[in-house]
Amino acid sequence: MAATETEEDQLDATFSALASSTRRALLARLARGPATVNELAEPFDLGLPAISKHVKVLERAGLVRRGRHAQFRPCELDPAPLRQVSAWADLHRTTWEASFDRMEQHLATLQANKESNRR
């Protein structure tokens, strides 16, 4: 049930990249389509260098790809690591659901025993 080390590293990178409201806003913007760093910076009070830095963090986390050829190197969202995050939650959800099924069985057994002892 344990994720492999590489998957854990990927989750670390994804979670830390997402731990900034600015970067989440950048991703939300990119979810609507590719954009250049200039376009990404428009709605923010932050300067271009700051936005550039955030984009680099997202790139390192594998959440953003940048075009190699175009002059302005537009940024594009890569949702694969986000699916990995989703897998983390799915894994835990499945485990908890199975656990709670057993808890219900155990509760039923305990109460049935109590009933029969009473008779």
Partner: protein, 156 residues
């Protein structure tokens, strides 16, 4: 993404609600008595040979999970601290992978489990929230909400 529209969770949190056919005090014991906890906790096929739960605020918890893998038996240890203990309605604890002695294997996967219980005429409504907390987040507050917005945007 795989949305779970029936609950309010996003991808970094798991929220599960159940109504259990048992009185609230008994359900409380399921979470706070190590012997009872060991009877139900863990993924299918796993057993819990050790569950030391000191269910007081600041009290430690130490849980061993044994799993049989194709390569043989494997033991995993989880350790953490009880953050809120308000019998029989609220239990909050954190947890991470540790070694046998409770030393964290790494500090980057601390997760938090919150259990809320309410009595419904002898039955018990249980809400369990399991949060993954990123280590270098300046505070996990607002994290889930912001992430919900992001996933909503991605779903468009």
């Amino acid at each position: 993404m795989s949305p779970h529209p029936e609950s309010t969770d996003s991808t970094d949190a798991v929220v599960i609600e159940r109504t259990l056919d048992a009185p609230i005090d008994l359900v409380w014991r399921m979470w706070t008595d190590g012997d009872e906890f060991a009877r139900w906790y863990g993924p299918p096929g796993a057993t819990i040979p050790v569950a030391d739960l000191d269910a007081r605020v600041g009290g430690r918890r130490r849980v061993c999970m044994a799993i049989t893998t194709p390569d043989g038996p494997m033991r995993m240890w989880f350790g953490g601290e009880h953050l809120a203990v308000d019998a029989p309605t609220l239990l909050v604890y954190n947890e991470s992978l540790t070694d046998e002695h409770g030393t964290p294997a790494s500090d980057d996967h601390l997760t938090e489990v919150r259990v809320e219980l309410t009595d419904h005429d002898g039955r018990t409504h249980m809400v369990m929230t399991h949060l993954g907390i990123p280590s270098d987040s300046p505070g996990a507050t607002g994290w889930t909400m912001a992430f919900d917005k992001l996933t909503a945007a991605l779903a468009r």
